[in-house]
């Protein structure tokens, strides 16, 4: 079984699924509610590290799966609280303010991961993590974890699709497109943003937990802006206002490059260390520029409320 899968392919697919999940969550924040978030790596990284520290450094009186569950819930909650706090800081700021605030938060997380080495292991990294089960060979364990993570991301996609069809989503769009008008209709835009960031940041933290377990070892280089940029590039490319935007966009960037090109196109071995990472960023950048030039709303285009409303209601 699973012969067709090698460890690289699993980790490549895992990365794609992670970025899709993050892109979907950013879609709710930036695509619908128009609150800029350049701190994705921070919320995700906080979950990753809180889990890593709790799981790897604390002596728990019980073993897995309880140990995993308790640590995962705590890490998710930490990210959710951070989301609430950052949203409160930026809720009255304009796009530039939100951008600086969220980026600043991610920078703080990165610096803490690097400098607080008693806890995080610093640049040397933090180990002692593992799967909360043992199903045999490493590859099987990894595959199971990949399937679980995919299920979580599918759940996030289902939630995003539901949001588009709910009064909650309508509220987010209203706040995003005309905040003063939404307020004049009695909507608390601040409350909407705080709830949104609490939920979506918590989910980002949970994705970070899944990542920590998959790689068993975490280093500050995991939580750099690269992951934010990958999620944003994919989302914008696919269509920032569309529910499926992140899925389509990430398939055409991260998946296409990290999996199809790297695994199935025969490239000279010596390219992998130097040329490929640079080429990857350059190609993502170029794709983004081309899309913004020729299809500024992304591959899927504009938000399509008329079609959606016609499908769910029968007012004529």
């Amino acid at each position: 079984m699973l012969d067709w899968l090698d460890a690289f392919l699993i980790s490549g697919l895992f990365g794609v699924v992670q970025i899709i999940g993050l892109g979907l969550l950013v879609h709710l924040q930036m695509g619908l509610t128009r609150v800029a978030n350049f701190g994705v790596a921070g919320f995700w990284g906080l979950g990753l590290y809180v889990f890593g520290i709790l799981y790897g450094k604390v002596d728990w009186p019980f073993g897995d799966p309880w140990q995993f569950l308790v640590c995962a819930i705590a890490a998710t909650a930490a990210s959710a609280l951070a989301g609430l706090f950052v949203a409160w800081l930026i809720s009255d700021l304009d796009v530039d303010g939100a951008l600086v605030g969220t980026l600043g938060f991610a920078t703080v997380i990165f610096l803490l991961a690097t400098a607080w080495s008693d806890l995080t292991g610093g640049a040397a990294g933090l180990g002692g993590l593992g799967f909360p089960y043992d199903a045999g060979p490493a590859k099987t364990n990894e595959f199971i974890w990949f399937v679980l993570t995919t299920a979580i991301v599918a759940g996030i996609l289902a939630y995003v699709l539901w949001v588009h069809r709910s009064p909650y989503g309508r509220l987010l769009i209203a706040v995003g497109t005309n905040e003063p008008l939404a307020r004049s209709l009695g909507k608390s835009s601040t409350r909407a943003k705080l709830t949104l960031f609490t939920i979506t940041s918590g989910m980002m933290g949970l994705l970070g937990v899944m990542q920590a377990v998959m790689f068993r070892f975490i280093i500050p280089a995991n939580v750099t802006i690269n992951i934010t940029l990958a999620a944003l590039a994919g989302l914008i490319l696919g269509g920032i206002t569309r529910a499926w935007g992140a899925v389509v966009g990430v398939l055409f960037t991260v998946a296409l490059f990290d999996i199809v090109i790297q695994f199935y196109v025969p490239l000279p071995q010596e390219w992998y260390t130097q040329a490929i990472p640079v080429a990857r960023e350059a190609i993502f950048g170029l794709a983004l520029v081309l899309v913004l030039l020729f299809r500024p709303k992304g591959m899927l285009g504009e938000m399509k409320r008329p079609q959606l409303m016609r499908r769910i209601h029968d007012f004529k």
Binding site: T177, N178, L181, A182, R191, L196, I199, R305, F315, K316
Partner: protein, 259 residues
């Protein structure tokens, strides 16, 4: 009805001042709105009518003074201490003078948005959309038919349609006090008539309506009382006939040649 209850909600403006870059734009000592069913607020361009309404809604802060709401149940609340989004839950609603809409939302979206309560808008309430549409189905159909909206599943197109949508959103909020800032500007005559009859109906139901309008026909026809403002001050408040024939109003606003 107990002695403290009143037929209509009233807004009391006291010592309200607002200036922009040193220039006083609103300076109202004492004004009661809502003591009659439909009240007009009249005055030349720049008199401060819109600014006063925005001060009442607390969408701009007051430099001085207070705005209080005397509710129909007899209780009183200081509006000038509340954030703007809490006006609606206290029954105070305002339409906007400048055409304002949500870019992406359809007409139906707009109506459902106005109707949805915070409970409907919970981030985890599974069946909220269907329940919301079902609960208000009749009301939505009624408003769509009455104003002859085109396809409710499209985004409002013309400025007129957006303006009308703004008013319908306000109607759906079932206000106790409704402030209308030039509601019929830019609307065709037949729609203007529809809006006016909707306003009358609302007033009959106990809502206090305050209406700013440069279309004087609308004012004379609808209003039981008219307040006249110029240069930020309330100069007089009286019945439409008296206002119409007052020499000061004629001089400052109506012009000598008005019919």
């Amino acid at each position: 009805m107990t002695s403290s209850e009143r037929t209509r909600a009233e807004i009391h403006v006291r010592g309200a001042k607002k200036s922009f870059s040193g220039r006083t734009v609103v300076d109202v000592d004492e004004l009661v709105l809502g003591d009659s069913a439909v009240e007009g607020l009249l005055g030349p361009n720049g008199a401060g009518k819109t600014t006063l309404m925005r001060m009442i809604m607390h969408s701009i802060p007051l430099d001085e003074g207070t705005v209080t709401l005397h509710k129909r149940d007899g209780s009183t609340i200081t509006l000038s201490e509340l954030p703007p989004h809490q006006m609606v839950s206290n029954g105070v609603v305002k339409s906007t003078q400048v055409v304002s809409d949500f870019d992406q939302l359809t007409i139906l979206d707009s109506l459902l948005l106005a109707l949805a309560t915070p409970g409907d808008e919970s981030p985890i309430r599974w069946k909220a959309e269907r329940e919301l549409a079902k609960k208000h189905e009749e009301e939505i159909r009624h408003q769509l038919d009455r104003f002859g909206f085109g396809n409710p599943n499209e985004v409002a197109g013309s400025a007129g349609e957006k303006k009308l949508l703004d008013i319908v959103r306000c109607l759906l909020l079932k206000p106790d006090v409704l402030l209308l800032d030039e509601p019929t500007a830019g609307l065709p005559d037949d729609i203007t008539q529809l809006v006016m009859s909707a306003v009358r109906e609302l007033a009959l139901g106990g809502t206090s309506v305050v209406i700013v309008e440069h279309d004087l026909e609308v004012i004379w026809e609808l209003c039981d009382e008219v307040t006249f403002m110029a240069e930020g001050r309330v100069l007089m408040k009286s019945d439409p006939e008296t206002i119409r024939n007052n020499s000061l109003v004629v001089e400052k606003y109506l012009g000598a040649d008005h019919a």
